[in-house]
């Protein structure tokens, strides 16, 4: 049962990481234009250089 001492904190940390990532995406307006974003991946505009 000692393994629980690792597994429980790990699962909690992973959950927290997921939550923080989600909060970050909400804060940075990533859900404002779902339709546009799904099509922008087809664009070649910034393939070779990341957007400055």
């Amino acid at each position: 049962m000692n393994v629980l001492a690792y597994l429980i904190p790990i699962s909690l940390v992973l959950g927290a990481v997921g939550l923080i990532a989600f909060v970050y995406t909400v804060r940075s307006n990533q859900y404002d234009d779902p339709e546009g974003d799904s099509r922008r991946i087809l664009s070649k505009d910034w393939d070779d250089h990341p957007k400055p």
């Binding site: 234009d33 779902p34 400055p52």
Partner: protein
């Protein structure tokens, strides 16, 4: 690329260099509506074209909202960018950024999304621990799992369930029960009994149930919010499309001012083709006015100094100077919109299905839970057991399915209708639309586009047509434009007419083979005034010739009327226009009942008479003369081209030109209401099975979680079955 921006700290020259030499002035933020964009190619082309325009700093397209946001130099105007996009082949309209402000960041939606996320992540973790308990963790391990669950659940609920706490408190403080009261009671009771059980190292804790309950209910709330937010932002966009500006004469010069700056007594210049921004009196100029949006009459009205004009009328031929007599909120346009607010309160009396269900449900579960607590306490005398069972009853009956039943269906239905070009503005509009048995149409601007079409091209000799075309081509009057369009399509070339000049308010005059030729109003040309919309041509001293016009049908009008008649609905036509024109349109579309020359009060009275006779009326109209009728009807639709007041009064806005989505909207509404009823049945059925288990004390947390999730998922899946006819 990125190297160019980062300054190496070791370089002494760079450190001394000022970072940005530009003074960075305040930027102009412009918003453009782009109704025709639909794909990745469009996004790239629009963004490239805008970015290439001097003065534009950044441009970003939002495909979901079909909008482009531009950061530009401060003196940049949206009018400079529209031709750029039109050259690329995109239709573009300026949006009033002031009116859009509210939707740029959807704070309430974000708030709900955060709470939903916290409830979701917390319930996943707690569920993980619960599964271990259900699969046999015992003694110290079980207690530890329960304590960890409690440590996650309590803060998570404190954050996530706030909307329910607030709503329940608001209802209780005015001594009422709503759906949120049993929800809050269930959550709180579940937490208290679970903590108590955990402290006494009991077997069952309901932490996961409380979280999953919060999660599903928040999901329902969020869906509901999304649907309304989309409708609200689209409705706001329609308002923002009309940028309210007017030309005020200041010391003899025309200055463009926002309408809110205008005062009574100001002199305002209205150019041909523009709408009157205020109520006023004509001080200078002669022209013709298009009053179709206000009164429904299609024939332009002659305008001369001294005549009063109302906001919303369109100036047709000559420039007018008007002296404002009422501005802003005092204009007849706004007074009409205020009348609507009074009529709207009538709509609030309609009880949505969800409220009807909640009214039965909320007291029911409380009584049931109290009874099972009492029963168990009397029978066993054990407070802990009876409280546990009362909590289980509350959790299991808790309205996850009920909370999802309506939002899931309305989201699916309004999404489907939005794709077809219908915007559902009012939360109960779908339910009301499902009950419709009578449809009343307005004529001008609704079944017809309000644009005239020449009807008797073949009746005239070629020479007359050529002369008429020459005169018509030099005028922007809608009848002239219709004439030149029809003649152009028939391959007629304009005659050689010289000295052409437009006489505002009367018509166009010129010289042809030494004779004076005139195209215009009956009295000016010397012809008798007919009942039909017509323009008259006179060549020299010959007898005047009449060109008659009729309204063009709106696309889909014929299909819409026949589609509604096929469904067995009663269709009527009520118009403010002349009887002849109304009768002809009614006959053409096969509408059996029609009323002509109806003033606004009569329209509304007619609708009320129909409602009084027990009919559920759907009113479709666009003008100011329809607003009272729109508000009086059981449910109402107006096209996007309608006046703001009419759009405010209606429950549904038709975004495109085509009327065809109306019959299918009725079908979708009926099928949506059917799904909502089915969802309530599913929820009831599941309660019939689960409640006896809970009352008998057989409901373990596992059973509660299973039953709750199954019913929620079934209800959501049922909503996806929705078909639009």
């Amino acid at each position: 690329m990125s190297n160019a921006r980062s300054v190496p700290a070791g370089c002494p020259g760079c450190v001394a260099m000022p970072k940005d030499v530009e003074p960075a002035p305040a930027e102009a933020r412009l918003a453009l509506s782009l109704p025709t964009i639909h794909c990745q190619g469009c996004i790239s082309r629009v963004e490239k074209a805008l970015a290439a325009h001097p003065g534009v700093r950044d441009a970003r397209v939002n495909l979901t909202l079909k909008r482009a946001l531009v950061d530009a130099a401060p003196n940049m105007q949206a009018a400079d960018l529209i031709p750029v996009l039109e050259a690329e082949g995109f239709e573009a309209h300026e949006l009033d950024t002031g009116a859009l402000q509210a939707t740029t960041t959807d704070k309430a939606g974000r708030d709900l999304l955060m709470r939903l996320a916290v409830a979701g992540f917390a319930s996943m973790n707690v569920m993980l621990l619960s599964v271990s308990v259900w699969s046999g963790a015992s003694d110290a391990t079980r207690d530890m799992f329960h304590w960890i669950s409690a440590a996650i659940t309590l803060p998570a609920i404190a954050f996530s369930a706030q909307p329910f706490f607030r709503n329940a408190w608001a209802a209780l403080s005015v001594r009422k029960l709503n759906m949120d009261v049993p929800i809050v009671l269930a959550i709180v009771l579940a937490l208290i009994t679970s903590l108590w059980e955990t402290a006494l190292s009991g077997h069952h804790a309901y932490f996961d149930a409380a979280l999953v309950l919060t999660f599903f209910l928040l999901a329902g709330r969020y869906l509901d919010h999304r649907t309304r937010a989309i409708a609200r932002s689209a409705a706001e966009e329609l308002t923002a499309l009309e940028v309210p500006r007017a030309l005020r004469l200041e010391e003899g010069r025309e200055v463009e001012r926002p309408i809110s700056d205008l005062r009574v007594g100001d002199l305002i210049r209205v150019r041909p083709g523009a709408r009157m921004p205020v109520d006023g009196e004509i001080a200078e100029g002669r022209s013709e006015l298009d009053r179709s949006l206000l009164t429904g009459e299609t024939l332009p009205v002659f305008a001369e100094p001294g005549q009063t004009v109302s906001a919303g009328e369109v100036n047709l031929t000559g420039p007018l100077t008007i002296r404002a007599t009422a501005v802003g909120e005092d204009t007849s346009l706004h007074r009409m919109a205020d009348l609507v607010a009074v009529a709207e309160s009538g709509r609030a009396r309609y009880t949505p299905l969800a409220d009807a269900a909640a009214k039965l449900y909320a007291p029911g579960v409380h009584i049931l839970s109290a009874l099972s607590f009492l029963g168990w306490y009397l029978w066993s005398g054990d407070l802990r057991v009876s409280l546990n069972i009362a909590a289980a009853v509350l959790i299991i009956t808790c309205p996850c399915a009920l909370g999802l039943a309506v939002p899931a269906v309305t989201t699916a239905a309004s999404g489907r209708l939005f794709k077809k070009g219908l915007l559902i503005k009012h939360p109960t509009a779908l339910e009301r639309m499902a009950q419709v048995d009578t449809v009343v149409f307005d004529k001008t601007g609704t079944l017809t586009t309000g644009q005239p079409d020449l009807t008797n091209l073949g009746d005239h000799p070629r020479r007359d047509l050529e002369v008429a075309l020459a005169l018509a081509e030099s005028s922007a009057h809608p009848l002239s434009r219709a004439l030149s369009r029809a003649a152009g399509e028939a391959g007629i070339k304009p005659a050689r007419v010289t000295d052409i000049r437009e006489v505002p308010g009367f018509g166009t005059e010129g010289r042809f083979h030494g004779e004076t030729v005139r195209l215009g109003r009956a009295a000016w040309v010397g012809a008798p005034q007919g009942a039909e919309t017509s323009a008259f041509l006179r060549i020299g001293s010959e007898a005047p010739r009449a060109f008659t016009f009729t309204d063009t049908l709106r696309p889909g009008a014929a299909e819409t009327v026949s589609g509604l008649l096929e469904r067995g609905l009663k269709v009527e036509l009520v118009s403010g226009d002349a009887p002849l024109a109304v009768e002809r349109l009614a006959r053409e579309l096969g509408i059996p009942d029609w009323i002509a020359e109806a003033p606004p009060e009569e329209k509304a009275a007619h609708i009320q008479a129909l409602s009084g006779a027990g009919r559920h009326v759907l009113m479709v109209g666009d003008g100011l003369n329809d607003t009272a009728a729109l508000a009086a009807a059981h449910v109402s639709i107006s096209p996007a081209s309608a006046l703001d007041a009419a759009r405010v009064a209606s429950d549904v806005v038709l975004l495109g030109q085509d009327l065809a989505p109306i019959p299918s909207a009725v079908a979708t509404a009926q099928s949506a209401t059917r799904r909502i009823r089915e969802n309530f049945q599913i929820a009831t059925l599941y309660n019939i099975i689960a409640v006896p288990l809970a009352v008998a004390g057989l409901a373990t947390p596992l059973i509660a979680a299973l039953a709750m999730s199954t019913s929620s998922v079934t209800v959501s899946l049922n909503a996806l079955r929705l078909k639009g006819g």
